[in-house]
């Protein structure tokens, strides 16, 4: 009897697994991969909320010119096999036209598939090598024609920070060559801008120190801070995110390093400041959007979108959320273009991405930066806003210190 019960429960499981949804009329499917329980959940959840709320908002307000978006959010916990399986399921069963992706792992695993299947992917992985769609730059290992992202690439953001650092060094009236160090785990995400950024730093007259390896998992990083101290680094680029950044800042305070930290876009937000407390001083980080409390016209729509999951409108969102909104709305407008120009297919959405110059989604003026994608250059954004933050006794103070617009140099394409 025991076996029979087990067998029957197994069959029920299988039946549940195989059941498929029935498609309603005039809908297109958008897949959404998110990490809400994996190693990058620290920021993954905020970004995913932005995407999800936007998709819900678009549907609640007429869809894509009448076409409803059918979407599914899958928390793949940063596991590649699950990302691939979800992608295949969406592609073969739901005829997915576009996908909102998440991290380095899933985005890179899917590059070949999405290029072959012609499904545009809007990732939150900003690796520089995703920006060369045709393989024009000999540096590019693999062209990524169907990959898009909203924001400056990791390399470009780091270049912007280095440019700011060079100016900062001059403004302070310091003499000699400033020393620059890359700090991060030995993994594709922190390493993505390492070489590109070091080359630019050398070009600007920095003395580039050997990179310091700091684990992605929080821990005691005093040894690494001591080596930063002994090398006398003046500027340090942090490639990690979340708890690891907190540990680093705290460890270095204990050791007493005199270094100006500059973080990547995922390593600087309100949560970091409130968790680090008094220890965090003059912490520099880039953003691609304003902050929640900023008073710009576009934020009105962002706050409306936020009400999709927070009806009271009281929740304060970090800037990753707004980037999720921008990513989704660029996709939305490309889909609208596609609908007017031959129907919403992956190929047409890709063309829609190239249709406009200095493009800001309607209603998000000031919230999203003006973007330019072309069929040879997927560096949508080449502007980096640089902020400096202090804990300030709990009343976190963030001020804009610079705005860098990077040249679209050919040798930086896809790199």
């Amino acid at each position: 009897m025991q076996h029979k019960a087990k067998l029957s429960s197994l069959f029920v499981c299988c039946a549940l697994g195989m059941s498929t949804q029935v498609l309603a009329k005039d809908t297109v499917f958008v897949g959404h991969l998110a990490d809400m329980s994996g190693p990058t959940a620290f920021v993954g959840k905020n970004y995913a909320d932005g995407v999800r709320d936007s998709l819900a908002y678009i549907n609640a307000n007429g869809g894509i010119k009448g076409t409803t978006l059918e979407y599914e959010t899958i928390d793949y916990a940063y596991k590649v096999p699950q990302a691939i399986a979800s992608y295949k399921k969406w592609h073969s069963r739901k005829k997915m036209v576009a996908m909102q992706g998440w991290g380095t792992a899933d985005t890179e695993a899917l590059i070949s598939f999405v290029a072959k299947d012609k499904v545009p992917v809007f990732s939150a992985s900003y690796s520089g090598h995703l920006t060369d769609p045709t393989g024009k730059n000999p540096h590019t290992k693999k062209p990524a024609p169907y990959n898009f992202f909203y924001g400056a690439s990791y390399s470009d953001a780091c270049r912007g920070l280095v440019q700011w650092a060079a100016q900062d060094w001059k403004d302070k009236g310091e003499k000699g060559k400033p020393k620059f160090t890359h700090i991060g785990a030995n993994h594709p995400f922190p390493n993505a801008p390492k070489q590109a950024c070091a080359e630019y730093a050398t070009e600007l007259g920095f003395d580039v120190q050997p990179a310091v390896v700091v684990s992605m998992k929080p821990g005691d990083f005093k040894a690494q801070c001591l080596s930063l101290k002994s090398s006398g680094s003046n500027y340090g680029y942090i490639g990690n995110l979340g708890g690891s950044v907190l540990s680093l800042v705290k460890s270095c305070n204990t050791v007493g390093t005199d270094i100006q930290f500059m973080s990547n876009i995922w390593g600087g937000d309100k949560k970091i400041f409130s968790a680090a407390g008094e220890g965090i001083k003059d912490y520099v980080f880039p953003t691609m959007t304003p902050f929640w409390t900023d008073d710009v016209p576009g934020m009105k729509l962002v706050r409306e979108i936020s009400k999709q999951s927070d009806e009271s409108g009281k929740e304060v969102r970090v800037h990753h959320y707004i980037r999720g909104v921008c990513s989704t709305f660029f996709m939305k407008e490309a889909m609208e273009w596609a609908k007017d120009n031959g129907g919403i297919t992956g190929e047409n959405i890709k063309k829609g991405m190239y249709a406009r110059k200095n493009w800001v989604p309607k209603g998000l003026e000031g919230a999203c930066l003006a973007a330019n994608w072309t069929n040879e250059d997927h560096r949508g954004i080449n502007q980096v806003n640089i902020y400096k933050g202090n804990y300030n006794g709990g009343d976190i103070a963030v001020e804009k210190v610079s705005q860098v617009t990077l040249k679209r140099r050919d040798d930086w394409l896809g790199y």
Binding site: L16, G17, Q21, S37, R52, I84, A85, S92, E108, K194
Partner: protein
Amino acid sequence: MSSLTMRPCGDFRTSYKQDNTIFETRTIRNFAIIAIALLCAAPYLVDAYYLTLFIQISYLGIAALGLNILVGYTGQISLGHGAFFGFGAFASAWMNVSFGIPVVFCIPLAGFLTMGVGMVFGLPASRIKGLYLAIATLAAQFILEDFFARADWFSGGSAGSSADPISLFGFAFDTDESFFYVALFALVFMYIWGCNLMRSREGRAFIAVRDHYLSAEIMGIKLNKYRLLSFGVSSFYAGIGGALYAHYLGYVSAEGFTLFMSIQFLAMIIIGGLGSVKGTLMGVVFMVFLPEVLESGVGLMKMTEWGNIPMVVDGLAYIKEMAIGLVIILFLIFEPEGMAHRWAQIKNYWKFYPFSY
């Protein structure tokens, strides 16, 4: 006796030939052949989602069998299997891109290259055992992981490396439907090879080393040789699995081959059954399908009116992650000998029905 389709109660094997068969009875063999024939028709019957799951089962299954040969049959331990899997993936892509060797040859070559690397890291096995060996192989995991992230010439460093699809006489196996046949062929080939290995002199030596190394040595089995050979065979399988993975995805990134992957391979063979070829495949199927079945459970919840609010959906995502752990624990408590053992019990139950003992 041989004309009977079912094996009678008890062991009545009277010749070496009977003792040595891969399939216990003719019926089982026929079933296996029919199953493979049916699988050949699968691309025409099911969609890409099931095909991709099967392809996953194939490359993970090949690597897991390698680990089972090492752990289940030879009684050694390895915590670096995920890294060897990754090494195979990078090696195959590297040979294809750098030397222009056709992919069909790159895959076995990657297997042999991984075999070499695995044997180097297996060297400590000739001196140390048990937990000490586990930690020594852990070093392989960390060294190789770091190597992938740094060795630009080999793995492309942080940018990863691209891998061309397998092509044969101008036909590229670049869709799920066509790659499915490559995966099926590789799976069947490697599993038959694994079965045959275990029936050979080397296989018996592995088992002897596992069961009692002192007795084995007294009987004239060179412990060092067979321990090292087992590491080699195990890494060879991992390398083949990894190479298939690389050419299926078309892109290899250093991020995937973590310690977690090594542990997952161990979980597969423990759940499936240590020292069982059949069990390995069962464990892999279980581990690949479990998250998918739970995911579709979450999907069903989302279809209901009350279930499709972010709070519930996010909560379910956490429950899903926990459920995977829970199922594994339950398995270890109620079926410590693995699914292969449970399968044998189910078979016996029906064979003797209603007079089971």
